[in-house]
């Protein structure tokens, strides 16, 4: 089995790229691959807790919690989150906060990297 690192920079609402990231990570984890997800820029909105699932909008909290249970590592850019008013008490438990070198370090140990840039 391999290691896949996905960097996602797109927002949860307004784009389907982050929704795709979560689904791809789930499929890879189910196949037994190690998966890391790095969230930067607008993607850090995923890490905010108490998301209300309105049917017209993508939601990320429940899928993220399920991924964490499967051993997927999820980390978001602390500066990007703080700049958007997402504070640590608002964070989904289990999602790590770190800086951009976390992503590069995970890239180092990965067989494949999928970088999904921002809009």
């Amino acid at each position: 089995m391999g290691t896949l690192t996905i960097g996602c920079f797109a927002s949860l609402v307004g784009s389907k790229s982050l929704d795709f990231t979560l689904k791809l990570a789930d499929a890879a984890a189910d196949k037994g691959h190690k998966v890391n997800i790095w969230l930067s820029g607008n993607a850090t909105g995923l890490g905010k807790n108490h998301q209300k699932h309105l049917k017209d909008y993508s939601t990320g909290e429940k899928p993220a919690l399920e991924l964490l249970k499967k051993g997927v590592e999820i980390c978001e850019c602390e500066a990007c989150a703080l700049a958007r008013g997402i504070l640590k008490p608002d964070a989904i438990e289990g999602i790590q906060w770190n800086a951009m070198h976390w992503y590069l370090a995970k890239i180092h140990g990965s067989d494949r990297v999928l970088h999904i840039g921002g809009e």
Binding site: F9, S40, G41, M100, H101, L104, I107, V113, G118
Partner: protein, 136 residues
């Protein structure tokens, strides 16, 4: 010894979105990645500029005056200061009519590195020879 190479390809224009800034800041974070790796391991980025991405490199940007944020020019200068290789597509500069003397440098900060203006074929080689590609 285990070196992983990454090509950061910046193709978005400055300020319209956060994308190109994040390309720079992620590449610069290479400076501290060793903290999370074992001895002898490293990640070496090469930053490539194509299409509208070359507009990020124009000097005398007034971002602080106009937007109240650090300019992308300063990120570019810091990238040179930390010795990142930065390849700029010559054809795209020509397409926009941007002469070399309009591009940033970091001589005032004491950087040894300079922007490398190269034909697209050189950028293609960099993309083909790296371990991982990241488009910004």
């Amino acid at each position: 010894m285990s070196i992983v190479t990454c090509a950061f390809v910046i193709q978005r224009p400055p300020y319209k979105s956060e994308t190109s800034t994040l390309g720079f800041t992620h590449a610069i974070s290479w400076q501290v990645v060793e903290m999370l790796l074992e001895d002898g391991q490293n990640v070496i980025p090469t930053v490539c500029f194509t299409g509208e991405g070359v507009l990020n490199l124009i000097k005398d940007q007034k971002a602080m005056e106009n937007y109240g944020v650090t300019s992308i020019e300063s990120h570019g200068k810091n990238s040179l200061l930390v010795d990142l290789d930065m390849l700029v597509c010559k054809e795209d500069l020509d397409r926009f009519g941007i002469a070399e003397d309009r591009l940033l440098d970091a001589e005032d900060m004491g950087a040894d590195k300079k922007l490398q203006i190269v034909p697209y074929a050189e950028i293609q080689k960099a993309m083909e020879s790296c371990n991982h590609l990241l488009f910004f």
